[in-house]
Symmetry: C2
Subunit: 185 residues, 2 copies
DNA sequence: GTGCGTGCAAATAGTTTGCAGATTG
DNA sequence: CAATCTGCAAACTATTTGCACGCAC
């Protein structure tokens, strides 16, 4: 909500070294799981870190990675996402689009609310407080919390109004101009 | 948790009329959205009602539907699920399997906790109380609550132990014998 | 009768996999 | 040197769509 526009790319020059540094930490975590340290993985991790909060999908991620090294292919990106996911370094989720988006959580988990009608997505307020509550539920069930992005569906105010006045909107019509696949997962 | 075994099919004879009755209500809701009342849709809705709580996927649903009318095809099942979803009568979600499962929520919202390592799924306790909390968050964000299944990921006690003793489990090995796609959504 | 709904089969799209060669430890 | 990774292309699978016909309204 405080984000001025989507697709901001805050590649602060001063952050470039940090980036390399942080990528190293991720590579180190992978190495502990028996993975090798490759240039491709480093590039993919750096790109994920650069685009933190943008929730890229596999194709978008690959395009950015390819802008740095055009030889990197789909398979490598997917395979890297899989090991990162298994190590808990990347979380993936489906915003009801029918494909996965990826998040490299810095420290806090994210809380998304999505409009079931138009697909618009926002973050809930006080994500940390809410995370604590959810963590309680997880422990209560005897599970250990893992990094993730929570998603809740609702009807945004725009769509609610439209439903009230016209309950039989054509399935193609969305209130916010975004497309939607057959159903919202 | 009180469910004795999965794949129970409580088609109580006394419930048969209820079923027809309830299916009618769903058809009526669809009609209000401008959809026509067809025999196929009635069959699909009845089958969904019968399998409440089983979280069938599209193929499983289709197989049950086809056991009543073998001429019904995939496309019809999918298309019916889409209109039901748009009308809020069916909720779909991905348990990290890479495909959708469907739920016809009676009244209460469901809360699933899934083990990120083995894919095991359980319901959280006190779903009604938790629903209230989530509903508060949804309203706080200016959205209207819609029926849904809320999913949280964690590590079950079995998998946690295994991770502690062997952090580098082969990706193929799972603690509960269930397969898992590349990553957990 | 008009137009939505259906069944079929073919098309899409996201993701996974087999393989031969390159790279890492 | 052996094992893991990579890039490519082909395979897979879930889901969607075009089309001709049938049925609901």
């Amino acid at each position: 909500m405080t984000k001025p526009s989507w697709k901001v790319k805050p590649v602060a020059e001063k952050g470039a070294r940090d980036l390399r540094q942080r990528a190293e930490e991720y590579l180190e975590a992978l190495r502990k799981r028996g993975c090798r340290r490759t240039e491709q993985r480093r590039l993919i991790i750096e790109t994920l870190l650069e685009s933190e909060g943008e929730h890229l999908n596999a194709r978008e991620l690959m395009e950015r990675v390819q802008s740095k090294d055009p030889t990197i292919g789909f398979a490598t990106v997917y395979r890297t996402l899989i090991v990162l996911g298994e190590t808990g370094l990347v979380h993936s989720f489906d915003q009801g689009e029918g494909f996965a988006r990826f998040d490299i959580p810095d420290q806090a988990m994210h809380f998304h609310i999505l409009c079931r009608s138009c697909g618009k997505m926002e973050h809930l307020a006080d994500e940390t407080a809410k995370e604590k509550i959810i963590e309680g539920w997880v422990k209560e069930a005897g599970y250990e919390m893992v990094p993730q992005t929570f998603q809740v569906f609702g009807l945004c105010s725009d769509c609610r109004d439209k439903v009230e006045t016209a309950p039989d909107v054509s399935p193609e019509v969305t209130c916010c101009g975004r497309r939607r696949r057959g159903w919202t997962r």
